[in-house]
């Protein structure tokens, strides 16, 4: 009986955590930053292009997806080609939170705290099925796993897979760049010829 109550209080805690972030107007996008006093169209655009081309992720992994995330930084896949290899250990200096793995109800607190500690503008990628929807843990008997990190914090890009291949994560980062700057391979980035009728 006591155990049951503990689970219930954990659920309430998760709900409270979810309210913390979703309540402050940042829902849905990473751009819920406190707006500037003045908007200059050109400066804004340059800002976005720069932000898109330098997404520094946080050194933060929760489960097996984190291994694939590490592979993304190494030879063969090398996310540094797009300037995103600067894994900052401090949330204050990072732009991108890659939720790589299963979010437990106990871990939820830490995830939300880390998200709140990041400086605006900030973005979130949910990597892998666990982070998207609870994956294999989304069953009736589940008592410990948050079914989807988007219940806690706003997510910008979902990368499905169990775990996703490193190319998948790179594609996720490219998608995020597209979301920030409005076009695939935003300006200073080299444009690659479209091949084989894809796109």
């Amino acid at each position: 009986m006591a155990e049951k109550e503990q689970f219930i209080s954990l659920d309430a805690h998760v709900a409270e955590l979810a309210g913390r972030v979703h309540g402050d107007g940042g829902a849905g996008t990473g751009m819920g930053a406190p707006g500037p006093l003045m908007r200059l169209e050109l400066a804004d655009q340059i800002m976005r292009l720069c932000q898109a081309n330098s997404l520094w992720p946080m050194t933060f992994g929760l489960a097996c997806c984190a291994i694939e995330m590490m592979a993304v930084g190494m030879a063969r896949f090398d996310v540094s080609r797009y300037g995103a290899e600067v894994f900052r250990p401090s949330p204050r200096q990072s732009d991108l939170m890659i939720v790589a793995g299963t979010v437990n109800k106990k871990m939820a607190e830490a995830v939300v705290t880390l998200y709140e500690q990041m400086a605006y503008p900030k973005w979130v990628i949910a990597m892998g099925n666990c982070a998207i929807s609870g994956g294999p843990f989304a069953v009736e008997e589940n008592y410990a796993v948050v079914e989807g990190v988007d219940k806690l914090i706003p997510v910008d890009v979902y990368v499905p897979g169990c775990p996703p291949r490193p190319e998948g994560l790179i594609e996720g980062i490219l998608k995020l760049q597209e979301k920030i700057a409005g076009s695939r391979h935003p300006f200073p980035q080299n444009r690659h010829p479209k091949r084989g009728g894809l796109a």
Binding site: A33, P34, I46, M47, L49, C50, Q51, N53, S54, T59, M74, A75, R76, D78, S80, R81, Y82, G83, E85, V86, R88, P89, S90, R92, Q93, D95, Q117, A119, Y120, P121, H185, P188, Q189, N190
Partner: protein, 327 residues
Amino acid sequence: MDTAFLPPELLRMLIAALFVVTVVFVNALFMVYAERKIAGHIQRRPGPYEVGWHGILQTLVDGIKLMTKELVIPRDANRMLFRVAPLLAFTPVVMPFLVLPFSENLTIIDMNIGLIFILAMASLNVMAILVAGWSSNNKYGLFGAMRSVAQNIAYEIPILLSLLSVVLITNSFSMRTIVEAQISGLWFCLLQPLAFIIYLIAALAETNRAPFDMPEAESELTAGFHTEYSGMGFGLFFLGEYTNMFIVSSVAVAVFLGGWSGLPLPMDAWTGAFWFLLKVYILMFIMIWVRWTYPRVRFDQLMNLSWKYLIPFALLNLIVTAVIVKL
């Protein structure tokens, strides 16, 4: 030019200030790019590649992004000190540019205490790190700052001792005199090889670079003393670090590697700067190479290295030099 609007001395100061700021920023932009590119190639990957031709615009883009990021000041931080610390870290590393002898004519001021001036300014850097770690009211920040103070105090002694043994030979602290002594004689890295090696090792530690980057050891201290800094506050620490690298390499070149001397070029008094900068960047390349090759040392190993090996050997070297000079 007597009736000029600006007195020549003031004009000279303005040009010098502009020159110094340009060198600092261009150097940092170039070095961050070089570091990421070299790190990439050491790990068999291309490094920044897609942003601009071979990723050449990457650091520029990063810089603009850092400026657009929110500046977070933690609630419990000491607001004033927290704001001042990055400036404190950045300003003293710019000052030594005043006395660096780039070439015979390209020296801003030739002070007769040049070397001491540089060392004094380099020690100020520690204070900035301590202020940063202390004011951010963060346990990792404080640990990082404390480590940095212990490390920098330990490694300033071998730096001073190794440079002193050169000063004993030249009888002068003026950077120009030291360089000219090498042009007429041997380079001091050949006369004083032990002092040169000790200086190089201690310089790595003094700039908080790997394998001696204890103040910001990621696996133990999050980001060390700049854990709480976001945006350009962190950017200024970064700028300071790369400028500091430039300064210690320049001192090594001026004191041990013959300063501006090299193969003769036209207009030698000005273009000697080419050889000076070439040597500086070769030394900086070696610093990057070391960083991406060796793992971080433990803190007790770091302290032992300085107090048990570098300082006794530097002292021995100083005594032997003193005796030989006296004879």
